[in-house]
């Protein structure tokens, strides 16, 4: 598995940031954006060059994906899996919310004043198109199995684990590359601003003074294999996945976190686990007033008030469509290292919230971790990772 966020590129840089409490949020200087906010921008995306034969896919989102593919030996692991299974037996199930829309935003600024046409250099299929990410990654890794992009807003790169597990269970592939990328763009920066959900200061999940999200970008990938095919010791297992819908509102969570709770219940049930079996929950925790309160209700109602929980969005910002994979990988790193991450800007816990929210890092043995991702449209996903049962 590989990870890139504003904390740095790769698992080591990420772990180092979590250990030292160094967050990735900085005042927004992105492109021509004039908003008073902090963002988690990934350094060096501008300098990434895609392989020559895939240069047509060049856009910020695919560059971010390329950056992650180069980390943590990920591309080599996939190449080895390709030798084992064959290129056509490895699927590619990735998530993004806005794909390469930044390319279309720039193209709309450069329309022909006479005809109104877009510049001829703009390539819709390889940049803006939602499916571009899976197409790029499949070609980049030389894979020929089924491939698609799931775009269920901020739950999307969590949900792809469930899609991949189903595809493997149904026999359509033996392994799958999951994860995805979501990159900064004007659509989401100005869009979240219009909803008045953006904090001017670095976000403070579960703090009594929390005032909204800090946006970020990120990418990450994991190679998922059929459990019986890879019983090597030390392998982390996807133990359970749960998905649900709020059926409540397009951009506001259910006030009692009903959909969130249902996703967690389904994840537990698919893993054959009880609430007490979970050692840590990496929350969705975006630092909006309503969102944190709803998730707190879902957590305390189902898991009680003693399980340590935290949101790592104070470190990375809300990486939107990449939040699922970024936080899945942080959760797996917590499982492997025993480092349970705290929450950098959270100073005074909201007394109305009853979860055991970690402000500072803790150390301890973890056997099973849960990670939550919720999105617009009321889309909810919860994953459980752990050692083999």
């Amino acid at each position: 598995m590989s990870i890139v966020s504003s904390l740095g590129a790769g698992q080591d840089a990420t772990l180092d940031a979590l250990r030292s409490g160094r967050g990735g949020l900085k005042p927004c200087r992105f492109e021509t954006v004039a908003l008073d906010t902090h963002i988690g921008e990934v350094r060096g995306v501008e300098d990434v060059r895609l392989p020559d034969d895939l240069a047509g896919y060049d856009c910020r989102n695919n560059r971010l994906a390329e950056m992650a593919l180069r980390q943590d030996g990920f591309a080599d692991s996939v190449a080895a899996a390709r030798e084992r299974y064959g290129a056509h037996r490895i699927g590619v199930f990735l998530g993004t919310s806005t794909s390469g829309i930044l390319s279309a935003e720039l193209a709309f600024r450069a329309r022909d004043p006479q005809s109104g046409g877009l510049p001829p250099t703009f390539n819709f299929a390889t940049t803006h198109s939602t499916g571009s990410l899976a197409d790029f990654v499949r070609r980049r890794l030389g894979l020929e199995g089924p491939a698609f992009v799931v775009s269920s807003a901020c739950a999307t790169t969590s949900k792809v684990f469930a899609n991949a597990a189903r595809m493997i269970a149904a026999g359509l592939c033996d392994a799958a590359v999951v994860g995805g990328a979501d990159s900064l763009c004007l659509t989401t920066l100005y869009g979240f601003h219009s909803l008045e959900l953006v904090s001017p200061a670095p976000c403070r999940p579960f703090d009594v003074q929390r005032s909204g999200v800090s946006l970020g970008e990120g990418a990450g990938f994991a190679l998922l294999e059929r459990a019986e095919a890879g019983p090597s010791s030390g392998a982390v297992h996807l133990l359970g996945a749960g998905e649900s819908n709020d059926a409540h509102h397009m951009s506001t969570p259910h006030p009692e976190g009903l959909g969130a709770r249902l996703a967690m219940e389904r994840a537990l049930s698919s893993a054959g686990l009880r609430p007490g079996d979970i050692d840590y929950v990496n929350l969705h925790g975006t630092a909006t007033t309503y969102g944190d309160a709803a998730e707190d209700q879902a957590i305390t109602g189902l898991l009680g008030t003693r399980i340590p929980v935290s949101s790592t969005k104070g470190y990375t910002g809300h990486t939107l469509g990449a939040a699922g994979i970024v936080e899945a990988i942080i959760s797996v790193m917590a499982l492997r290292t025993g480092l349970i991450p705290g929450s950098p800007q959270t100073r005074t816990l909201d007394p109305a919230l009853r979860s055991r929210y970690l402000q500072a890092n803790e150390k301890g043995r973890l056997d099973r971790v849960m990670t939550n991702s919720f999105g617009f449209g009321g889309s909810n996903s919860s994953l459980i990772f752990g050692w083999a049962a």
């Binding site: 056509h88 919310s97 279309a104 935003e105 709309f108 600024r109 329309r111 109104g116 046409g117 877009l118 703009f122 390539n123 819709f124 299929a125 803006h128 198109s129 939602t130 499916g131 571009s132 197409d135 020929e144 089924p146 491939a147 698609f148 992009v149 799931v150 775009s151 269920s152 807003a153 469930a162 899609n163 597990a165 189903r166 595809m167 269970a169 149904a170 359509l172 004007l186 659509t187 100005y190 869009g191 219009s194 909803l195 998905e243 649900s244 819908n245 709020d246 059926a247 409540h248 509102h249 397009m250 951009s251 009903l258 249902l262 389904r266 999105g375 617009f376 449209g377 009321g378 889309s379």
Partner: protein, 270 residues
């Protein structure tokens, strides 16, 4: 993967509903491409009805038709939404706004821009909290949706509503990404046969070079190649013929690079 078809929805140019279109699809009536008419779903609360954008209207219309035919409460049915794009009108308007000095996006327009907006509206309208996937694979979005829906039926044992839709962009995006007509279709797929079943499908992913199924009528064939969701037309035509008592048929859908989705369409197995 074996799945059973309990309901079918269809809306496209000259294809105003499944029942109305069967004769055209079997070749019994001539095809005439009159524009599809979109309306907001009466299932939605008034605020959401007002805010419905074309993709939401199209997806909800075909989804509701298929679920009604299946006689199922949509609250109990998982969903797969497949489309090559988010709402084209909404994306156009946001991109135009962001190219101005002001950059003031409306909050409603922003939430309507997410690819899973139809899934969100659908769950609000139907009170459905079952799992829902919104996916995209450019020109192969329908094929990808069919595989995902079949995998949910086969691996998880769920009853699944597959809802696929694609609409053209306004200019200038239309020139960069031309899409023909407004086309949506929906299938309710179940793991067990019921007395409502219309057909039985055996779906396989192959590496073969079987010729891809086409439409005999030139108008329907240009719709099939012009709109990603209309790649479903040969499957819908086979469903119409088998539903009329015809022999089982095999439909081949393209899945590049080098793949095919092969669907054997048979009489309902009761």
């Amino acid at each position: 993967m074996r799945v059973h078809v309990e309901g079918i929805g269809l809306l496209g140019p000259g294809l105003a509903g499944w029942a109305e279109s069967r004769a055209v699809l079997t070749g019994g009536s001539p095809y005439a491409a009159s524009p599809a008419v979109l309306a907001a779903s009466p299932l939605l609360p008034p605020a959401e009805r007002r805010r419905s954008v074309p993709t939401v209207k199209l997806a909800m219309t075909v989804g509701a038709e298929a679920l009604e035919q299946a006689g199922r409460d949509p609250a109990t049915v998982a969903t797969v939404f497949a489309s090559s794009s988010g709402d084209p009108d909404t994306l156009h308007q946001i991109l135009e706004t962001l190219a101005t000095e002001q950059r003031d996006i409306s909050p409603t327009r922003f939430h309507n821009s997410v690819h899973n907006a139809p899934a969100g509206y659908w769950s609000i309208a139907t009170r459905c909290r079952e799992p829902s996937t919104s996916l995209s694979a450019h020109d192969e979005s329908f094929q990808a949706g069919l595989l995902e829906a079949a995998a949910e039926v086969a691996a998880d044992g769920w009853t699944v509503g597959l809802i696929a839709y694609d609409l053209p962009y306004p200019e200038p995006l239309n020139e960069a990404r031309p899409i023909t007509g407004t086309f949506g279709t929906a299938l309710v797929l179940t793991p067990q046969p019921t007395d409502r079943c219309l057909a039985c499908l055996d779906i396989d992913l192959t590496r073969g070079d079987e010729p891809v199924s086409r439409m005999a009528d030139s108008g329907l064939e240009s719709l099939r190649t012009g709109n990603p969701t209309a790649r479903a037309l040969p499957l819908l035509a086979a469903l119409a013929r088998v539903g009329n008592g015809g022999h089982p048929e095999t439909v081949v859908l393209d899945l590049p690079p080098g793949g095919r989705v092969v669907v054997r369409v048979g009489q309902p197995c009761r």
